[in-house]
Amino acid sequence: MKWLLAALTAFCFIQPALPSPVAPLAEDPVIEHRLNHIAEELRCLVCQNESLAGSRAELAMDLKREVRDLIKAGKTDAQVKEFLVTRYGDFVLYRPPLKPTTYLLWAGPFALQLVGIALLVRYLRRRNRKDGRKALNEAEEERVDAL
């Protein structure tokens, strides 16, 4: 327990040493923190497998500047995301919203799981029935007894 606590404490100290994706410099740390938090959830349009927070692409820097301005203007996180979605579409969101075109995306894995469970149950039932049929008949039982 003690070593675990020590390890966790050590972790707390390591955390702030990690390089922040957005250099805060003289900026307000509260705003930078919110910016990073929002930008982690947004996709960079230029290097599409990177979040806006992690990207150094020029467009990403510009978008972070816009997001910073919106935060300074007192917009909520939802309003900031809305700003980007009206311009770039749902594509910028790492968590796509639930709507008719994304029902399959959200429900698909669970539907597949249900199909898998159904197939498994059917297979197991069938196997049990087969085992039942194979059970020894009377004559065989007698022979077993005789042995």
Binding site: L45, R87, Y88, G89, D90, F91
Partner: protein, 175 residues
Amino acid sequence: MNKFTLPLAAFTVLVAVLAVGLTLNPRAVPSPLIGKPAPDFNVARLDDPSLDFSPGDMAGKVWLLNVWASWCVACREEHPVLVAYAKNESAVPIIGLNYKDKRDDGLLWLARYGNPYQLSAFDADGRVGIDYGVYGVPETYLIDKAGRIRFKQTGPITAAALEKNILPLIKELNR
């Protein structure tokens, strides 16, 4: 029913889905602005900072807004297509949006490679670009008489793309 029928059918469906997936372009981002009014802006012109341009100036016309920059390599590939198109008598006006460029570099680029634009607006800090959802230059928007965006081309306009996608739509919008 053969015991291989079901797995084979499932496999065939999987292959079909993956085959369709291969023909899609994962980098293409559908613009949410199609069918919506072109975002308004008012910025200085590239050739003369004392004059400005706003999309409202083009009201009642079908026109193209072409986002370009002197640092953009793909723009150079696209440029001859635009220059050739602009020479057509029936060509619609092309407005350039000089995106995140230096004024002298932009002017020099036009002097060197030709100027197909009625004028170029100068978007030094890229704010207009963000309002239009620009993420890769060149990009081109076709805007109708009512000021609505009807089509967006991301990446260079090739002669084939112009012929196949843009010209028929321009014809239709101009009717």
